[in-house]
């Protein structure tokens, strides 16, 4: 009896190790764009390491079921099972969030701060590093990527299921939205 139990426990642990191994392999496909450990090196590609698990899982499923617009990601995630999506979300959520502070001119930063204080801080935190449960951290995220995202959210054809974020983006002037993106991009830890 005791031997059987031991065997079951060992088998379970072995299975967990195998699963972790598979996810790391799967995650490598993401790394080619989003960087090793989810820390992106390209200005238009977002860092995803350290984003909240629920946020990641949610957004990938929205792409999979065409609830959210995308050009490439919706195609990629359609090849993943929901379990794989959840496992990938958990994997990247475990990675440390590594901000990449980017420089911007002081005027833009000041304008961005005002916009962030007025419209963004309540969900993402004043510096983007203290987000709400359904909002991602934005401190040190790539500013150009955020700028492009906001432009997409401002388009009425673009499917953006997060009602409040879409509304906030559509209410902001393009220049303010851009400045807010620069402000978040300039933040470190």
């Amino acid at each position: 009896m005791r031997n059987t139990l031991l065997a079951l426990i060992l088998a379970g642990r072995a299975g967990t190790a195998a699963a972790r191994g598979n996810i790391e392999v799967l995650a490598r496909t993401c790394n080619s764009c989003h960087g090793v450990g989810g820390v992106s090196a390209g200005a238009t590609m977002p860092s995803i390491g350290g984003l909240p698990r629920d946020y990641l899982s949610n957004i990938m499923k929205q792409w999979k079921y065409d609830e959210r617009s995308a050009i490439t990601m919706n195609r990629i995630v359609k090849g993943l099972s929901n379990d794989e999506i959840d496992a990938l979300a958990a994997y990247f959520a475990q990675q440390p969030w590594v901000p990449v502070p980017q420089k911007a001119n002081p005027e833009t930063l000041a304008r961005g701060k005002t916009e962030v204080d007025n419209n963004c801080a309540d969900c993402h935190g004043a510096s983007g590093g203290d987000p709400d449960v359904d909002a991602p951290p934005l401190n040190g995220q790539w500013a150009r990527y955020m700028e492009l995202e906001l432009q997409k959210y401002q388009s009425k054809e673009f499917k953006m299921p997060h009602r409040k974020m879409r509304k906030a983006a559509q209410q902001a002037k393009p220049a303010d939205a851009s400045a807010a993106a620069r402000h978040f991009g300039a933040q470190g830890r």
Partner: protein, 654 residues
Amino acid sequence: MARTAKGIFTGLLLAGLLLPGLATATTATVQEIATASAEGQEALPIENHRCLRCHADQEEKFSVARDGSRNNIYVDPKVLEHSVHGKVACVGCHKDVTKLPHKKPLAGSIGCVECHKQEMGKLGKDADPKKRERLGVVLEQTENYLHSSHARPNPKDQSRVSAACHDCHDAHNIGTVGTAQRAEHRLQNPEVCGRCHEKQKDDYLGSIHGKAIVEKKDDKSAVCSDCHTTHAIGSPKDDPAKLAITKNCGSCHKDAQRTYLSSYHGQVHQLGYTNTAKCYDCHGGHTVKKGDDPTSEVHVNNRLENCRSCHKNANDNFLAFQPHGDPDNKEKYPGLWWAKRFMQALILGVMVFFWVHVLLWLYRELMDRIRGKGFKENLDQPDIVYFRRFTPVWRWIHALFAIATMALVLTGTSLLFSHTDWAKAVVTFLGGPKMEGIIHRTAAVIWLSIFLVHLAIVTVNIWRKRDTFNWFGGTSLVPSLTDLRDLKNMFLWFFGRAERPDFCHWTYWQKFDYWAPFWGATIIGSSGLILFFPEKTAEFLPGWVFNIATLVHAEEALLAAIFLNTVHFFNVHFRPERFPMSTAIFTGAIPIEEFKHDHRLEYERLLAIGELEKHLVKRPSRRADLAASFLATVLIVAGLTLLTLVLIGTTTMH
């Protein structure tokens, strides 16, 4: 261990440093928070409009937790604005929100009690008196709540109280007195209480109160808090709650409460005891319905069953009892009305006549004394010869009669005047209404026994002298025309138009004192027996007899108590010739000179037939005299005390 102690010390130090700051933040308004922030803090001030960005979002009124549970987070900004807390910062109450976005879920506890106390402390001398008054009400209610059963640990979850402030009050929607919000909250009361008390709510919704609230939106109908109070809510199994609920019924049903409190049920209840029928025992509590509703507990078809919950052997005659019988309502209760009018006329007639008699007598004796007339004790030659007025049997009978009567008056009036503090104190001292009833009935049995024993002795005495007994003679207590003449002559003397009349063995006022208990024994005794044995009585008499019996028992007893302790006391003890007291009924003898003055005809009669000697005795010993004076003093003081209590009761009765 040392580390722990150090940790606690550090914690206390930090708490000490932080608490003053917290205290300020507790009641901070929006403006105060904005200013504080502007003075150099990095974090953005958490103003209400930032909170309302999410919490006033009509499209997302619910937040969904990870376990799928939904939580209403919506706050109507217009409602909040008109609430008494409309100018308080959200974070003034939600103190765990120190940044945005905030942690989820928020802490359940809001420091209402502490905040209101601090608010009161902050009021300056020139503060708006209305604000002080309202805050005073809030603090009083807070105190009531803290002692209520809601503030005790929840039996199902000891980590929380049974109900906290926000379980009943929607803190974002507390209207000031007289506002629509307030009225709406009142209509919602059964719904709010019913969240926990589901069965009671269901019962209530089927009641006349519930239907008026829910169907007619009649906010004058009773809601839960009207009966159970808003904050001082106790277990309905405990006496304070039972007393409070019955009292609160009377806030609306004033007449019903007045008539209830004058019944035996209500009198016991008013003394603070709950072992008699209360409003909800007969009418149903949450299920109360109109009497003509066949499902009502007081409907004529269900009433007997209702009575039987206490009176096990109640029969159909109980149905004729009028639990709310009102002797002042002629249309509805004519029998009771006439009974009261008759008793009042009797009391008024007797008392007015004898009080006039007392006052005139007092006036005349004082006038005579001023003129050096009237009986005066000769101090140079004190009497050593006494006339024996009373044999030991009559002295004992009088003493027992006096004590039993006083016990009856004390125990009876403490029930009749149950509204007074003295009655409550007396009943508590005696050990409650049950003991009071036992004492009252024991005294009544003693009283009636003495009365019957006296009748037996009198009968035997008269039978022995049947051949020579002069029924209307001077030694007989039977009233005669002589008494009428004496009465007329007394009045002439009062007005100074004749000499004081001479009397034989008994005077007319003594005869009145003697015969009054015959009437009293008939009225009080028979009504007392009816009330003593209600179920036996109901076997052959209708229930309304109890109403009449209760009324006449009390009225006749009042007449007796007031008469004895005023008129009888004056005639025997307090008139100037006797003041401060006569001890004749205790020693059995009076000085021969006093006898000659008061009963000259009897003195002369005995002298003429040569029988005076047979009645003469020595002066009572000094010890006997002292004992008699002591006893008389005790009884007179007790009687006057009772008179005072009765007068307090009568004059304060509503």
